[in-house]
């Protein structure tokens, strides 16, 4: 539509028979303000397929016995428009039954970025064909999620499992105690004052006009490690380390020589001053930002 030379190409539905489930989770007070989300797992109970239906399917489509289950986060925006973000997608066998786990950590990360966090978490689960095309099987029709256990034996409602760390134990402690002796091996991660003296640097002489120096701060100390390694989610995850999680820029006035004459100029150097130190997993992916 944004091209100057466009032709409308009409499409038609090839397949429109995915079964969709909308899950709603009330999240109020589920995540304490001083906690860090490590992993969120959605557990759905897969109903055993009827034996007769399985036999019929094997006869008709002997080579395909899987369906694709996709979990999306549903965001109802302020203007009423719906937006979905892909969270997890995997193949499920029609012969399986019981609890199936999906990693929905990213959905919680998105939900936490909302301006109105009191709204519930909406997850859309769809079951689709593994492949499209004339020879596609109908295996997806045999994958169903239920809220009742097999034979009505107890509830099997969708479950959201939140694994968190209490930052009062596993986080950084703010600024280091200036009264205490220099940071020792076991000191908990903190932000320590570090003055950078620009006047004392030979190269800055006659070049850097402002500032004469600045408080850069640095992150020192160590972070408490959880008892169980988080290998379930990220197998290559390293230990928790004390890092600069928020930084700010440093403006400077420098002297620039142009046409044989020196003139002052303002320049801003990014990430020069540490604002906040945090404990973070080494190698963990940076959470995606929610697009406006």
């Amino acid at each position: 539509r944004f091209s100057q030379h466009f032709r409308e190409v009409a499409g038609r539905f090839l397949v429109s028979e995915a079964s969709t489930y909308l899950l709603v989770f009330g999240m109020e007070q589920r995540l304490a303000p001083h906690s860090e989300l490590v992993q969120a797992v959605l557990r759905l109970f897969q109903e055993p397929a009827a034996k007769a239906a399985l036999r019929k399917h094997e006869r008709l489509s002997p080579r395909s016995a899987r369906a694709r289950v996709t979990v999306e986060w549903l965001h109802v925006r302020d203007d009423g428009a719906n937006r979905t973000s892909l969270i997890d997608s995997r193949l499920v066998s029609i012969h399986d039954s019981g609890w199936k786990a999906f990693d929905v950590t990213e959905a919680i990360n998105f939900w936490q970025q909302l301006s109105r966090p009191q709204q519930p978490l909406l997850l859309q689960v769809s079951v689709q064909r593994e492949h499209l095309g004339p020879l596609a099987s109908s295996a997806h029709k045999l994958v169903r999620f239920t809220s009742q256990g097999a034979g009505g034996t107890g509830p099997a409602e969708p479950q959201l499992e939140l694994h968190t760390l209490d930052l009062r134990d596993y986080g950084a402690q703010g600024n280091c105690d200036t009264e205490a002796p220099p940071v020792l091996e076991g000191t908990r991660c903190c932000r320590q004052e570090m003055y950078i003296d620009l006047q004392g640097m030979k190269w800055a002489e006659n070049w850097v006009l402002e500032p004469p120096g600045f408080l850069a701060y640095e992150c020192v100390g160590s972070c408490r490690q959880p008892p169980e390694p988080q290998t379930l989610r990220w197998p290559f995850l390293g230990p928790r380390q004390c890092i600069a999680s928020e930084t700010t820029s440093l403006p400077m006035i420098v002297s620039i020589k142009e046409g044989g004459r020196a003139r002052p100029q303002v320049v801003s150097l990014p990430n020069m001053r540490v604002q906040k130190c945090s404990c973070a997993w080494d190698g963990a992916p940076v959470p995606r930002k929610l697009k406006p």
Binding site: M201, W203, T248, P251, S255, Q265, V266, S268
Partner: protein, 55 residues
């Protein structure tokens, strides 16, 4: 934060490959105009307010 990192960042921001040669005489006759100082102060205030998040 090391001295080399500050120098490297400064050279990068100014698109320079090496430290410029400026003598004391250049510095002595240099007066920072009010608008340059105002720009510096505004950036200073903004950097105190806005933090960038990230590892």
């Amino acid at each position: 934060l090391t001295e080399e990192q500050i120098l490297g960042s400064l050279l990068q921001q100014l698109h320079l490959s090496e430290v410029p040669v400026l003598d004391k005489a250049d510095r002595a006759q240099l007066v920072t105009p009010a608008h340059v100082r105002a720009q510096y102060v505004a950036l200073l205030q903004r950097s105190h307010g806005a933090h960038s998040r990230g590892k």
